[in-house]
């Protein structure tokens, strides 16, 4: 997705058969801390206010069950599709996938970006029933920044 600034503001592009949301933010923390936070399923609930729970393990090919504040009554059954240790994590289901990317940008900072694309031939039929991801994305990025920077500044 082009024109995405690292300002922690979500950007959504709607098309007939798909919808994409992305966010990017610079975080004053080592990439390894962000990676550890993003891959410890059991700990999400503690720092991420958009996640109600994640069961399972975030490993290549692993299965997870995610409950999100976006739709608290629903359990998203997802699989981890790609893991490039320290750099990239992709999970999703048949409807779409979410991509997390980490890049060192110097001065002890890491750029975190998150991108989700959902869609398919029948997407127009239920598009209106899927809530906007914008607020949830912004909260996720903000929580991650707050937690990672707290860890760096703790000692």
């Amino acid at each position: 997705m082009t024109n995405l600034e690292s300002d922690g503001k979500a950007l959504t592009i709607k098309k007939t058969f798909s919808r994409e949301t992305a966010i990017s933010i610079d975080i004053q923390a080592d990439k390894s801390i962000l990676w550890a936070l993003l891959t410890d399923a059991s700990d999400y609930q503690r720092w991420n206010s958009t996640v109600i729970s994640i069961d399972g393990t975030i490993t290549q090919g692993g299965k997870i069950q995610l409950k999100s504040t976006l739709d608290p009554k629903r359990v998203f059954k997802l699989s981890v599709k790609e893991m490039e240790v320290g750099n990239k994590l992709v999970w999703g289901d048949s409807m779409g996938k979410r991509i997390y990317t980490l890049k060192s940008v110097g001065n002890g900072q890491t750029n975190f970006s998150m991108h989700e694309k959902i869609g398919g031939p029948i997407f127009p039929l239920f598009a209106k029933m899927i809530p906007s991801f914008d607020q949830s994305f912004e909260q996720f990025a903000s929580d991650l920044k707050k937690e990672a920077e707290a860890i760096c500044n703790a000692i």
Partner: protein, 267 residues
């Protein structure tokens, strides 16, 4: 470094090292074996020591690696370990008579609330991922610096900070939910129950208020309460304290229960 220098340094570090390994493994036998094996390994590799760290840090590195090998195949405990073990103790007709006998015959058989708090943290910290438990103990109990812990665990400063932050957050959350000493709604009253059995003439409220952590509980600074809890561990040598034999017997009991409990879960 000569073998004499190593021996001297090792003997200085031995009490802390043994207590550290006990708190990681919860096994007296493993603690003794790992400490002994650490000395043998250090002596064999003495020529590789390059003064990039202190001798104490190097010894703790060797022992930590041996402890990690020892624990690799073992499951982590659960945060409700004390509930599980309490049920088993109540169902075991020999358990309390054994403890009473220790109390009546041992020079290290006194029941002290502070020692039980240390015991309790030892058990519950085994529910943390091993790296987090090790980091928390090294930093908060054995007072190693972050840089030294990076050497002991062969990891980055960032990861040590992550492990420390996470372990503290989890311990705060668990004790805030469980410990009736710091939260009136806490579900665990084991200290007062055991104190009632072993020290029936004591007034628990009076004894409780001698403990800084319990006294300051109402002020609600959870980070500080955890620091005070960890301070209790710092001040207690689990092998030579007033109630060491009693608490070690209790710890061995819990370890055996938890090893079987993990086994049962797997079946």
């Amino acid at each position: 470094m000569t073998i004499e220098q190593l021996t001297n340094e090792f003997e200085l570090a031995r009490p802390q090292l043994k207590s550290y390994i006990l708190r990681i493994t919860a096994s007296i036998e493993d603690a003794e074996d790992i400490v002994q094996d650490s000395f043998i390994k250090a002596a064999q590799k003495i020529y590789t020591f390059q003064h990039k760290s202190s001798v104490k840090t190097w010894i703790f590195t060797i022992a930590s690696n041996l402890a990690k090998d020892n624990l690799r195949a073992k499951k982590r405990w659960t945060e409700n370990v004390n509930d599980i073990c309490k049920s088993e103790a109540l169902a075991n007709p020999n358990y309390f008579p054994e403890l009473v006998q220790i109390q009546q015959t041992s020079l290290h058989g006194q029941f002290e609330i502070k020692e039980h708090i240390a015991f309790c943290l030892t058990c519950i910290s085994k529910s943390l991922p091993l790296e987090q438990q090790i980091c928390m103990l090294l930093k908060e109990v054995y007072e190693f610096k972050v840089l030294e812990i990076t050497q002991i665990l062969d990891t980055s400063e960032a990861m040590v900070k992550y492990y420390l932050h996470n372990s503290r957050a989890k311990m705060i959350s668990i004790f805030d939910g469980r410990c009736a000493l710091i939260n009136k709604e806490g579900v665990c009253h084991q200290c007062s129950e055991l104190n009632g059995i072993f020290n029936p003439k004591q007034n628990f409220e009076v004894e409780k208020n001698k403990i800084e952590m319990a006294k300051l509980a109402d002020k609600g600074d959870k980070e500080h309460l955890l620091n005070l809890r960890l301070q209790i561990l710092r001040d207690i040598d689990p092998f030579s304290s007033n109630g060491s034999e009693l608490q070690l017997h209790h710890l061995e009991f819990n370890r055996k229960i938890m090893e079987n409990y993990s086994g049962k879960k797997e079946e």
